[in-house]
């Protein structure tokens, strides 16, 4: 090391120790930013490589067309012959079942259950040989024997299915059972937003299952192209050919990829956004810290400049110091990110398979860290431009970083302020008045506190309010169910009609029950502009009673109400007429209204009238007499009727929403911890610097007769007040802006909701703000408590 560099190094090291607490805080903020940024980037990279890897082994189609009904094979062959870019194609036959038609059982333990609560279409297929293979954990495409089934990995995850379990499908001609042989990943339908999933059975089992009836036969026409880029051209050509089957969705390779990236990448995007927020906070703090440091060092800087050291070299000493801090922060953040990534990518790994943690992940992490470091260092450089403006004379004589013109301007500003404000006539005591005057005079610096607390309160409030919305009783109205006390579901039983009669009789005879409504679940074939669709319709007296319509009204006789997603899919609006096919007959119903529903994949409908024969299930909505405990009643009925699920409505909501709410609860807890931590950290840093800055004023107050307790109390009060302003505004902001944010979220999630009324939890909103202010207060107390017995004359010494 050259003597000059050695000197600089010594300076850097010494100075770092000087401001230890502030520097540690700075490192922590940078580390948190770097950790979130790095984690977000790495999760994204993991997701994309996992998707790539799965695409490589499974080879999803470059273009596919779904269809229900007859397929003209000759037309398809003609189409393929005319298009040389088609490398390979086939028609995949599938038969789809409602989740309620599927049950599982574990012979070893006798445990069992159904897949009824999943909102997903279950499609049975045979393994594809050429492409669009469904692959197991070893990346092989298993071909099941008769009596064996390969189940989507999602069910392994969500229900805990195991190899050896039995899977039963209720068909029109009785139940059929398979043994689970393994689990498969599905490149086409792996996304957590996908509304369908595929089970693999043998060719002959598939034929038998289709023949058994009760399922919905469906096909996918799939194409593999010589160049995936030609997919959209082929899509156009396909759409233009009237002979080709196309009453379902047409999907290209890019769309599949995009869907994967969006659905499972949202968390990563959220991480990156929070990281950006944190970097903004870090930049504010850095500016504050650097400026403060320079003001403290100004005489030294003036002396160095006086002996002819160029400003650039002086600046470099400081830049080296803060770059070092940034580097340490980024290194720590990077290490944390490496630890966090496996936890966050577990879901991705199940759906898409584990990609080898290759060099690309490391590279992405390094780039993210470098970006954070770069932003931080550039922020420092900006703040350090002040060094160049320090004038030797002003620095040495007045100890000011300002040049003469700035000094004069500042003096004028101070003079104006001094003339305008007045201590006399002050209400609320001299001390409070003085604090207010100080706050106004140093507003630029103090504004750091409310800004940070606003951001933190917002960050804490948003997920908490989303959670309380999902948990509010009002949310029932988004689940296509009336607000009743107890709900009973019977489905899939051999003696469905007998059960219904028994349960109806029991409930009507029970004097604890005030009212019972029975809705039948019917699968109806509805004519849509692009072909027929099967729609789950609830039929009953007042089937849509107590359900809020976002458009139109509840259905009367001859009318139907559609869920939002069904209205979209059937391209039907209020007042339109729909044709329903029932066997050979068909009848017309008028759409009376549209409502929001997240159950059954968001695709439901309600009709007024008597339950028709041949219903696939029944739902009982039970209102209880005054004072009857729904939990106890539900439990007693659940026990008495083994094949009926009887649940208090609150429990039903909880069960249905549990995967969503638990995710939000985790986020809310995390955000709270995070917000409080960051707020405390920034307060400590800020106050540390503020104490140094206000030392002389504090000494003056002490000299004229203010007690140390009063002086420190003033500082604590200023901190708490500014924090309260920020936290209060942030809490209000989260409540008011939360609604629009939520609407954007639910609309883009495509779960069948258009508009959610935010049900903010007032306790959470005020509690969060109070906790933040308390954190600020505690930080202030912690920092000032050791000054209590200080000899205040030292505050006046240089």
């Amino acid at each position: 090391m050259s003597p000059a560099r050695a000197l600089r190094w010594r300076q850097v090291r010494g100075d770092l120790r000087h401001d230890a607490a502030v520097n540690v805080a700075l490192v922590v903020v940078v580390a948190l930013s770097a950790c979130l940024m790095g984690t977000g980037a790495m999760v994204m990279e993991r997701l994309l490589s996992s998707v790539d890897r799965l695409f490589e082994v499974a080879q999803p189609p470059h273009f596919l067309q779904m269809h229900k009904g007859e397929v003209d094979l000759a037309a398809l062959t003609r189409f393929a012959d005319r298009h040389p870019e088609i490398e390979s194609w086939f028609v995949e036959e599938m038969v789809g079942f409602d989740g309620a038609a599927l049950a599982w059982e574990r012979p070893a333990t006798g445990a069992s259950g159904d897949l009824g609560e999943s909102l997903i279409d279950n499609l049975f297929v045979a393994q594809n040989e050429t492409f669009d293979r469904l692959v197991d954990a070893a990346d092989a495409a298993p071909v099941p024997e008769d009596g064996e089934v390969y189940v989507p990995v999602a069910y392994q995850e969500s229900i805990g299915l195991q190899v050896g379990d039995l899977l039963t499908v209720a068909t029109s001609s009785g139940p059929r059972t398979w043994e689970v042989r393994g689990f498969v990943r599905d490149a086409q339908m792996a996304s957590s937003l996908s509304s369908a999933t595929r089970f693999v059975v043998s060719e002959s089992d598939l034929a038998a299952l289709t023949a058994a009836g009760g399922g919905q036969p469906e096909v996918i026409v799939e194409y593999l192209l010589t160049d995936p880029g030609l997919a959209s051209d082929l899509e156009r050509a396909y759409a233009a050919d009237p002979a080709l089957p196309k009453n379902g969705q047409a999907v290209t390779y890019t769309m599949i990829r995009t869907l994967h990236a969006i659905s499972d990448g949202l968390a990563a995007v959220a991480l990156v956004l929070v990281a950006a927020l944190l970097i903004a906070i870090a930049l504010l703090v850095i500016r504050f810290v650097v400026r403060g440091r320079l003001e403290d060092d100004v005489r030294q800087i003036g002396a160095m400049r006086a002996i002819g050291i160029p400003a650039r070299d002086i600046g470099r000493v400081y830049l080296t110091r803060y770059s070092l801090l940034a580097a340490v922060g980024c290194a720590v953040g990077g290490a944390l990110a490496v630890l966090a990534v496996p936890l966050l990518t577990r879901g991705v790994q199940t759906h898409y398979g584990a990609a080898a943690a290759g060099g690309r992940g490391t590279l992405v992490l390094l780039v993210a860290l470098a970006a954070v470091a770069l932003v931080v260092v550039l922020g420092c450089r900006r703040a350090l431009r002040l060094v160049r403006r320090v004038e030797v004379v002003d620095a040495l004589v007045h100890g000011s970083t300002l040049d003469r013109r700035q000094s004069r301007r500042r003096a004028r500003r101070q003079a104006r302020r001094a003339r305008r404000t007045s201590l006399a006539g002050a209400r609320g005591g001299v001390t409070r008045r003085l604090a207010l005057i100080d706050l106004r005079a140093d507003a630029r610096q103090w504004s750091l506190v409310p800004v940070v607390f606003f951001l933190c309160a917002f960050l804490m409030g948003l997920p908490a309010h989303l959670l309380s919305t999902l948990e509010s009783p009002r949310f029932l109205t988004y689940m296509g169910a009336p607000q009743v006390d107890v709900r009973a579901d019977l489905q899939l039983a051999d003696d469905l009609e007998a059960l219904r009669t028994d349960l109806t009789a029991a409930l009507t005879a029970d004097d604890r029950v005030a009212d019972v409504q029975v809705h039948a679940l019917v699968l109806a074939d509805v004519e849509a502009p692009d072909g027929r669709r099967t729609v789950r319709v609830e039929v009953g007296e007042g089937a849509a009673q107590g359900i809020e319509m976002i458009d139109g009204a509840a259905p009367g006789p001859g009318e139907i109400a559609l869920s939002l997603l069904n209205a979209e899919e059937l391209q039907a609006a209020v007042g339109d007429t729909l044709t329903i096919h029932e066997g050979d007959q068909s009848r017309s119903v008028v759409v009376s209204g549209v409502y929001q529903d997240v159950t059954s994949g968001g695709k439901t409908a309600k009709m007024h009238g008597d339950p028709p024969p041949g219903a696939t299930g029944y739902t009982f909505f039970v209102d209880l007499a005054e004072g009857v405990d729904p939990v106890a009643l539900a439990a007693s009925y659940d026990e008495r009727f083994e094949d009926v699920t009887v649940l208090p409505m609150t429990a039903y909501v909880e069960q249905t929403m549990t995967h969503v709410t638990s995710a939000f609860r985790a986020t809310a807890v995390l955000a709270t911890a995070f917000g409080l931590g960051v707020a405390t950290l920034i307060t400590v840093t800020f106050l540390q610097l503020r104490l140094a800055r206000e030392r002389r004023a504090m000494g003056t107050l002490s000299a004229v007769g203010f007690s140390t307790a009063e002086i420190l109390g003033q500082l604590r009060g200023k901190t708490a007040a500014t924090a309260a302003v920020g936290a209060g505004l942030g809490a209000v902001g989260a409540v008011t802006l939360g609604g629009p944010v939520l609407d954007v979220l639910v609309a883009s999630a495509g779960v069948g909701l258009a508009h959610l009324e935010l049900a903010p939890d007032p306790w959470v909103a005020t509690g969060g703000a109070v906790a933040l202010v308390a954190a600020a207060w505690l930080a202030a107390v912690g920092l000032t408590v050791r000054l209590r017995g200080a000899s205040t004359s030292t505050w006046l010494r240089d």
Partner: protein, 252 residues
């Protein structure tokens, strides 16, 4: 005459240094009511430390300080700052004014705090003080907008606004040129003539010559005291010569 301010065997040791620094090693001083005492001594002899101890800003390591018969060292922080607010005025070498307040508000600050309910009386008193020391015309200025002499006179106003029992001053002319210095010393003389008790630290024999008595500190001990008698402007030069002669014998 009654004794206003008195310290006995006052010691102060800073333990933050290694080895600990004994700055005051047993100082005895009693100041009679209405007396003007100047404290002199070489740099580092402990003069400022003595004043801080007398004002209660620092707690001495040992000894007692009595102000109007009350032992300051036995008071709590709150009581001590109350005593400082109402019974002690302090003037520093640098004015130490709050930058966000006008001259008048700086002067008002302790007086308003001491008697918040007598705002009108306090305002009248302060305005009269500003008038008396010739700075009424700059009262709405910021502290950066007035001369050093004006600022120091404002400092004296602030110290007197609470009508204290004693005025402590630590090199009040140390940062001023000689004409401003004279301005400020005239103010002190004026205050003294009106009956206020003063303890002033100074390096300048011309300033010290204004006092009734000069105390000399050396290495934290009082090594000499000399009474000068009442001040008359006519024999300023003679007093200064006499004082210088005495100081030389002490190694000044």
């Amino acid at each position: 005459m009654t004794v206003t301010l008195e310290c006995r065997d006052l010691t102060k040791t800073y333990t933050s240094t290694d080895p600990p620094t004994d700055v005051l090693r047993g100082v005895d001083l009693s100041v009679r009511s209405g007396e003007f005492v100047a404290v002199m001594g070489a740099s580092g002899s402990g003069k400022s430390t003595l004043l801080h101890g007398l004002s209660g800003m620092d707690r001495p390591t040992g000894g007692t300080v009595h102000l109007e018969g009350r032992d300051l060292t036995a008071l709590t922080d709150a009581q001590m700052s109350r005593a400082r607010l109402t019974r002690i005025g302090f003037v520093f070498q640098q004015a130490h004014f709050l930058p966000n307040l006008s001259i008048r508000d700086n002067v008002l600050l302790p007086a308003l705090k001491a008697a918040p309910r007598e705002q009108r009386a306090v305002l009248e008193r302060v305005d009269a003080l500003l008038e008396r020391f010739g700075i009424a015309h700059v009262r709405d200025h910021a502290s950066t907008q007035v001369s050093g002499g004006q600022l120091q006179r404002a400092s004296i106003c602030r110290a007197l606004a609470t009508e204290p029992a004693v005025l402590l001053a630590d090199e009040p002319t140390g940062a001023l040129n000689s004409s401003m210095s004279r301005e400020v010393m005239d103010a002190f003389t004026d205050v003294h003539a009106a009956g206020t008790t003063i303890v002033m630290v100074t390096h300048d024999p011309a300033c010290a010559a204004r006092a009734d008595r000069v105390v000399y500190l050396r290495d934290g001990r009082e090594t000499g005291t000399r009474a000068l008698g009442p001040w008359h402007a006519e024999d300023a030069a003679r007093r200064e010569d006499e004082l210088l002669g005495w100081l030389r014998t002490l190694g000044f």
